[in-house]
């Protein structure tokens, strides 16, 4: 989350909106995102539980989401998918590379 924050100017340059999605309820996410001081929307996919995670096929049977990233272009087309190892930090490079590709077209 903080990595997104650091790259905020880059995302702005590249006309890109970052949305975080979590399966927790709003009060939890409010407490959580306040601590992280994030300026991007933190979305609550709590009820019906994990419906958007299900829609993107990243809801695990224990009720949490995968650590997953989807990059979507301005036409609404998916341009990058990373269902990442849940215990690993996916980093930012692949996202930035995808956005650059989108920009160059």
């Amino acid at each position: 989350m903080s990595a997104y924050e650091e790259l905020k100017p880059r995302f702005a340059e590249m006309d890109t909106q970052v949305l975080s999605v979590l399966v927790n309820n709003l009060p939890t996410l409010q407490a959580w995102s306040r601590g992280l001081n994030t300026s991007f929307p933190v979305l609550s996919d709590f009820w019906p539980h994990g419906q958007v995670a299900l829609l993107y096929n990243v809801l695990r049977s224990e009720g949490v989401a995968e650590r997953a990233i989807f990059v979507i272009d301005k036409e609404g087309i998916v341009r990058y998918v990373d269902i990442h190892d849940i215990n690993d930090d996916p980093g930012m490079n692949a996202i930035l590379r995808t956005l650059k590709e989108i920009e160059s077209k």
């Binding site: 407490a31 933190v42 609550s44 539980h49 989401a65 609404g76 087309i77 341009r79 998918v81």
Partner: protein
Amino acid sequence: MRTYSHISRDTALASYAAWDQGKFWEMHDLLFENAPELDRDVIESLARKLGLDMDRFIKSMDNMDHLDELQKNLDMVHDLDVWSTPTVIINGTMIKGAQPYENYRQEVDKALKELSSLDALGYLKSAFLGLIQPSAAYADGSAFGQGQVPLWVPAPRMKPTNEVRVGQKAPDFTLPSAQGGEITLSDYRGKKNVVISFFPAAFTPT
């Protein structure tokens, strides 16, 4: 017709009356805290404690405004042959009485597995049948208690394989934001690229 005690009926009606004023769960909690001594005087003192409009509350109780809904719920419970509290129904499988977590989990896992192998669009419907079951909670799948917690949940329709792949149209959604308001993915169409980042859950390592 199923029989029930007057105390059960009055507490159920009180919950409905509190629901009308946006305090269903608050009343629910107080009723459980104060059981089993719940005569009309106690119920009214609880309503007062919650700061409800007492004229409205008492009128609702005296007129039994919600008796029809209560009866519909009892009829449904009767139709389903439910006699234990709690009873949980997961995709048609009934789990009676309070059982270990693992039993519920198994059924949910099974239901999810069945769903993902369905050819057509599917539904996961789970009904939570406790002491009180306002009819609106199942009638249209919407929330009751003024939009807080639905008891009957139509889960999203799933296609057989719904992996989202590169080159596909991103499934649209609308979700509430912790910063207030709601965000709809398609609102960014034609304006911005979007990075959607799913995190396992809050307060897990980021």
